[in-house]
C-alpha cells in the first residue's frame, strides 16, 4: 500500500498544507472537542484540506471546506427524525438509523479506526474518523446472509452545522451482505454531511450495496465508500445521486487478494445550480481481479457534474481486467459535464478500457414517442429513465429497483417534466 500510488491525494498535499494552515486552525477546536488523537490531527494536517490543485479534489466544491465555518451538529430532534423516516418510507424498527452522525437506539455501535488503507490517505475521511469516534458497526459472520437498510440523516438545528457519520462493515469469509444506504437531510438548511462507509469483504464474500443520496437542496455532501476486497470476494455497488447543492460521492476499492470483482454503477441527476463530483479509484493490487464501472449523469439547468474514474494496476497484478464507461445527458445547453478517466498501469498482462460521451436527448427518439401520442414532457422523462435504467438494472432486488426508477421519474416531474 505505497504512498506513491496514492499520488492523487498525496503528491501535492505538502504544498497545499502550508497555505491551508489558517483554515486548518478552524478544525483544531473540533478535534480538541472530540478528544481526537494527536496522531489523527497530524495526519489531517499532513493531508491538508482539499484543494483544487490536488488531482483527486480537482472538481470538488473545495471552497466549502475552507471558506465556510462548520460546527458539529447537536443530536437531532426526535420528531424531525421520525418525520423524515416516514417521508422516506423507512421503518426505524428494522433499519439502522444515524442522525447527525449518531447511531440511534445504540444499535451496533463501536469504535472503528479506518480499516481501508485508502482512508488513511484521505483528508475528509480522517476528519470523519477524528470527529466521530463511535461508528455504526455491522458484522456479518462467516456464511451468514444479512439484508439491512442504513439511513444517515442530517437534521441540524440551524445553518452551518456538520455531521460525520461513520459506518464500519465487516463481511466475513463466504458471507453475503445486501445493504441499502440512504443519505438524506433537512430540506432548507445549509449543512455538511461527510459520511464514511468502510467495508471489508472477506474471502469469497459478496456485498451488494445500493446507495441513494437525496440531500436537502442547500446541503453539502462529501461521502466515501471504501471497500477492501479479499480473495474471490465480489462487490456490487449501485449509486443514485438525486439531490443536494453540492454533492461528492467517492468510491475507493482495493483488491488485496486474487480473483476479486467489483461492479460499480452510478447514476447522478442534477438540476438548478447543483454541483456533482463523482470519483472512483479502483486499485488492482492483486492478480486477476475484475472491475467494471458504469456511470450515467443527467444534468439540467446550470448543473455541473464531473466524473473522475481512476484505475491503478500494480506491477504484479497480472491478469487485471478493468473497464469503465461514463455517459452524460444534458437536458439543457446551460448544463455542463466533465469526464476524466485516469489509468495508471504498471503490469503488462492487463485489459483496461474506458469510454466517455456527453450528449443530448435524441430528437428522433423524442419525435417517435410524441408521434405515438406521448406528451413531450413524458417522452423526455421516459428517455431519461431509459438512460439511467442501465445503471438501475444492476440492482438485483426488483422492488428496490422499481422504487429507484420511480425516484428518477419523480425527479423529472420535479423539474416540470413528465406526468
Amino acid at each position: 500500500m505505497s504512498a506513491k500510488r496514492r499520488n492523487g491525494f498525496q503528491m501535492k498535499t505538502m504544498a497545499a498544507s502550508t497555505t491551508n494552515d489558517d483554515k486548518l486552525a478552524h478544525y483544531r477546536a473540533a478535534f480538541e472537542h472530540a478528544q481526537a488523537s494527536e496522531t489523527l490531527w497530524r495526519r489531517f494536517v499532513e493531508l491538508g484540506l482539499p484543494a483544487r490543485a490536488q488531482e483527486a479534489w480537482h472538481y470538488a466544491d473545495v471552497g466549502a471546506f475552507s471558506r465556510e465555518s462548520w460546527a458539529m451538529a447537536a443530536p437531532a430532534d426526535g420528531a424531525a427524525v421520525r418525520s423524515l423516516l416516514s417521508e422516506l418510507a423507512l421503518d426505524p424498527a428494522t433499519s439502522l438509523v444515524l442522525a447527525n452522525g449518531r447511531v440511534l437506539d445504540d444499535k451496533g455501535v463501536g469504535s472503528a479506526a479506518a480499516g481501508a488503507a485508502a482512508l488513511h490517505a484521505h483528508s475528509l475521511a480522517t476528519l470523519n474518523e477524528a470527529l466521530t469516534p463511535r461508528a455504526a458497526v455491522i458484522t456479518i459472520a462467516a456464511g451468514e446472509t444479512k439484508t439491512l437498510t442504513v439511513a444517515s440523516l442530517t437534521l441540524p438545528a440551524g445553518d452551518g452545522e456538520m455531521a460525520h457519520p461513520r459506518i464500519a462493515i465487516k463481511v466475513a469469509a463466504g458471507a453475503r451482505a445486501d445493504l441499502r444506504f440512504i443519505f438524506a437531510g433537512s430540506a432548507g438548511k445549509r449543512y455538511w454531511s461527510n459520511p464514511v462507509v468502510d467495508i471489508t469483504l472477506g474471502e469469497g464474500a459478496e456485498a451488494r450495496l445500493v446507495s441513494m443520496a437525496r440531500e436537502g437542496e442547500q446541503a453539502l455532501h462529501t461521502g466515501v465508500i471504501a471497500a477492501t476486497v479479499e480473495r474471490r470476494a465480489r462487490l456490487i455497488l449501485t449509486e443514485l445521486i438525486l439531490g443536494g447543492r453540492s454533492i461528492r460521492r467517492e468510491t475507493l476499492v482495493d483488491f488485496i487478494g486474487e480473483d476479486g470483482a467489483a461492479d460499480l454503477a452510478g447514476a447522478y441527476l442534477g438540476g438548478g445550480e447543483t454541483r456533482i463530483d463523482v470519483r472512483s479509484e479502483v486499485s488492482h493490487l492483486s492478480p486477476r481481479c475484475r472491475s467494471r464501472q458504469l456511470y450515467r449523469g443527467v444534468l439540467d439547468d446550470k448543473a455541473f457534474a464531473a466524473f473522475q474514474g481512476r484505475v491503478y494496476v500494480a506491477p504484479h497484478a497480472q491478469g487485471s481486467d478493468a473497464a469503465q464507461s461514463t455517459r452524460s445527458l444534458l437536458l439543457q445547453r446551460t448544463a455542463e459535464a466533465a469526464a476524466k478517466p485516469e489509468l495508471e498501469i504498471h503490469a503488462d498482462d492487463v485489459k483496461c478500457s474506458h469510454g466517455a460521451t456527453v450528449g443530448e436527448l435524441d430528437p428522433d427518439m423524442l419525435f417517435y414517442l410524441e408521434a405515438r401520442g406521448v406528451p413531450p414532457a413524458e417522452a423526455r422523462s421516459m428517455l431519461v429513465k431509459a438512460f439511467i435504467g442501465e445503471v438501475l438494472e444492476t440492482i438485483a432486488d426488483e422492488s428496490l429497483r422499481e422504487r429507484n426508477i420511480d425516484r428518477v421519474g419523480r425527479w423529472m416531474t420535479g423539474r416540470g417534466e413528465g406526468a
Binding site: 430528437p363 428522433d364 427518439m365 419525435f367 417517435y368 414517442l369 410524441e370 408521434a371 405515438r372 401520442g373 406521448v374 406528451p375 413531450p376 413524458e378 417522452a379 421516459m382 428517455l383 429513465k385 431509459a386 438512460f387 435504467g389 442501465e390
Partner: protein, 252 residues
C-alpha cells in the same frame, strides 16, 4: 362522405430549400389515397409536416383534420386526434421495452381522448391478440423498441402500433420498403384490417408493389413539391410502366 383531411396550398421549407410548393389534397372518410413520386419529390416531407415534426413547419397554407386546424397541434396532440405516421425508418429506443412503449402510448392517447386507461390485464390481452394477427412473436415485445429488429420486424412493429392506436388517418411512409413478399402480405393484411368507413389511409410509396395488396381509391403523383396528377388505381400501373420522367418534366 365527410372530409377527413384537407390540405390547401401547402408550402414548406426545410433547411432553407422549398420542398413543398403548393400541395392541395382532400381525403374523405373511408378513402385510401396513395401518393407516388420520384425520390426527392417531397413525399417524406409531407408526412413529417402532417405529423408535426420539428423543423417541418409550413411557411404557407393550411391543413384541416376532421374540421380542426391540424397545424396548431403538437405531435402528441395530433396522435390523440387520430393521426398516425408509419415511419419509413422506425426509430430504435434502447432501454424502453416495446410493451412499455405501447402501453404508455395507448394510455396517453386514451387519456387525451377522454377514455379510461386500460387495465394491465386488458392491455395484455389486446396486445397479444393484435400481435398474433401480425404474426409477431410476443417475446419480441419484451425487447427494447426496434433494437435488434430486422427491417420486416420493424415494419410489423409499426403496424402493431397502428392496430393498438386505431387512428382515423394513417399516413404510411414507404411501409413496403425493405419487406420480402411474405412480410409484405402480413403488413398489407394489417393495413387492410384498419380500413373502414370511419378511417382513411394515405400511403406514400415509390413503387406500385404495395398497391397490389392495398388497393387505393385515388392515386396522386407528387413531383417537385406539388401534386401534378391525380387518378384512379390504374395510374399506379401506368407509373410502373412508364416511370416518373414525364411528370418531372411537367412540374418544371
Amino acid at each position: 362522405m365527410t372530409v377527413m383531411l384537407e390540405i390547401k396550398n401547402l408550402h414548406t421549407t426545410v433547411g432553407g430549400r422549398e420542398i413543398l410548393n403548393g400541395v392541395n389534397l382532400t381525403i374523405r372518410a373511408g378513402e385510401v389515397h396513395a401518393i407516388m413520386g420520384p425520390n426527392g419529390s417531397g413525399k417524406s416531407t409531407l408526412s413529417y409536416v402532417l405529423a408535426g415534426r420539428d423543423g417541418y413547419t409550413p411557411t404557407q397554407g393550411s391543413v384541416t383534420f376532421q374540421g380542426r386546424d391540424l397545424l396548431a397541434l403538437d405531435p402528441a396532440e395530433r396522435a390523440a386526434a387520430g393521426i398516425f405516421l408509419g415511419f419509413q425508418y422506425p426509430v430504435e429506443i434502447p432501454g424502453i421495452s416495446t410493451m412499455n412503449f405501447l402501453r404508455t402510448a395507448l394510455n396517453a392517447v386514451r387519456k387525451a381522448r377522454g377514455e379510461a386507461e386500460l387495465s394491465a390485464a386488458d392491455f395484455l390481452k389486446l396486445v397479444r391478440e393484435k400481435a398474433k394477427t401480425l404474426d409477431m412473436d410476443p417475446e419480441m415485445l419484451k425487447r427494447s423498441v426496434n433494437v435488434g429488429f430486422s427491417g420486416g420486424e420493424k415494419k410489423r412493429n409499426e403496424m402493431l402500433q397502428m392496430a393498438m392506436l386505431q387512428p382515423r388517418l394513417a399516413i404510411l411512409d414507404e411501409t413496403d420498403s425493405g419487406l420480402d413478399i411474405d412480410a409484405l402480405k402480413v403488413v398489407s393484411h394489417g393495413i387492410n384490417a384498419l380500413r373502414g368507413p370511419e378511417r382513411s389511409l394515405l400511403m406514400i410509396t415509390h413503387y406500385q408493389r404495395l398497391l397490389d395488396y392495398v388497393v387505393p381509391d385515388v392515386v396522386h403523383v407528387l413531383a417537385k413539391g406539388r401534386i401534378v396528377k391525380t387518378g384512379g388505381k390504374e395510374l399506379a400501373l401506368e407509373l410502373e410502366r412508364e416511370g416518373y420522367a414525364p411528370y418531372v418534366g411537367e412540374a418544371a
